[in-house]
Symmetry: C2
Subunit: 244 residues, 2 copies
DNA sequence: CGCAGCTTTGATCTGGCTCAAGAGTTGTGG
DNA sequence: CCACAACTCTTGAGCCAGATCAAAGCTGCG
């Protein structure tokens, strides 16, 4: 699964856990971990299950900002204002560890190592996703979906799950929102990849058959059209999501 | 000008400057402040001039990530890895204040206020731009350019420059890269806005004639076609830049 | 003055959105 | 356990914003 704004690795978790009082939370499918506007009190380390993070557009529509799984940290988006900008919802039965952020912060003052790790939460999670988003603007829909799959594979491998056999708990609509396309396009792209024999698709169950073909595709054009094979895109002008 | 990943307000500068030894740097047009891969030692507070921040795509092409002016902080992208991901180039004669980051960090440990401000660097600058980028994916080219102009106006007003009369030092190519479109589209959109009487364009010199019309345009479709006036876009499915 | 790099404008093409219609799938109540 | 309703997913046809290709105007520096 993709990482959301606040994300980090397992070893960071370990260090945080040693230092700070925290407690587990168990959620069922559809249950909310926190909502936009909620007071920012805890950050949450996902231990099992998958979460959907989202922001609200000014017109009230939901914009998916990422999917989080074991090893990811959720909730840091509230740091700036003291309230969460976005929300997080469990997509299945799941467990998180809630850590009071105030305590984290005060402990960080007396502990340089912990300070580094709290800083690292931002540095790794946020700056990396910033970089990703900028470059993502220059990719076609197919490239974005392929990257999503590769990233899902990598993340699953990191935490010890199968790197080629997923049961995506999120809907096509969620994926479409995250990747900035329509559900129809997501569906068509999955079908196209399946037709090429690169993946197998059966509703929410997806199997990567040829990860190398997928990686090779990373710099290629859509392949949605009737062309026999995808065409190389010449190294030309980029498109990018913009800061402003 | 738009803010780049590390950005903050003037009052933060003031507090940082009181606490940490720093020194000024003067640059001419085209000179590099730091490059991708450089060791991360300083953060830089821009005092005058405009800088272009960029990242390198894996194929070596440059992706503009923001423009920074007086009151912005540059260079924090190196925090995660100890090396700068991106680079920054002066677009004209300019002055920055270089601050050794290690000192900033150690001072932060003994000073809760300073710690808050260093945290604030991330919270405000990065998280906000994260939010922006996500929602920016759902906007048309015209909306993105209009937002760019409005933001430029606001930033200029904040630091005491004219909020309606700019001499953009960056090329159309830079703007196009930042906003994720082609130079032709940037040029056409400027022309369209000029035709509507909303702005005046003369190469790099741009004047905002009707800021309210610009603001009103914020939620409207392109207007590039032959239609007499721009058409409202119904509140429908969003497009978005994605984390992954 | 002349070349080299910007910028503008026109003509055409196309990836991905829209609209529309089915085919699964899941949940609910009888 | 089945039937019906409510979703979710797939697939097709057509359209349009913005990319691509092409060709002039500007600007400014040596």
């Amino acid at each position: 699964m993709a990482s959301s704004p606040p994300a980090q690795t397992e070893r960071d978790d370990a260090i945080l856990l040693e230092q700070v009082a925290c407690f587990p939370l168990y959620l069922q499918r559809g249950q909310t971990l926190f909502s936009p506007g909620d007071k920012f009190t805890y950050v949450y380390a996902v231990q099992s299950g998958v979460f959907k993070s989202f922001l609200l557009q000014h017109d009230g529509r939901e914009q998916v900002s990422g999917f989080s799984m074991k090893g990811d940290v959720l909730g840091l988006d509230g740091l700036g204002t003291g309230r969460h900008d976005g929300g997080a919802i469990a997509l299945g039965t799941s467990k998180v560890l809630a850590m009071p952020f105030a305590e984290l912060e005060s402990k960080a003052r007396s502990n340089a190592l912990l300070q580094r790790h709290v800083c690292g939460l931002f540095a790794r999670g946020i700056v990396r996703s910033y970089y990703l988003m900028l470059t993502l603007g220059s990719m076609s829909s197919m490239e974005r979906l392929v990257r999503f799959l590769i990233r899902a594979s990598e993340r699953c491998a990191e935490v010890g799950y199968s790197d080629s056999d997923f049961n995506f708990p999120m809907t096509r609509q969620d994926i479409a929102s995250l990747l900035g396309m329509t559900i129809e396009t997501v569906s068509r792209l999955f079908s196209a990849l399946a037709r090429e024999g690169v993946i197998e698709v059966n509703q929410k169950h997806i199997r990567i058959v040829d990860i190398e073909a997928l990686r090779a595709m990373h710099r290629m054009r859509s392949g949605l059209s009737e062309s026999p094979g995808p065409v190389m895109r010449p190294p030309e002008a980029p498109r990018a999501a913009a800061v402003l």
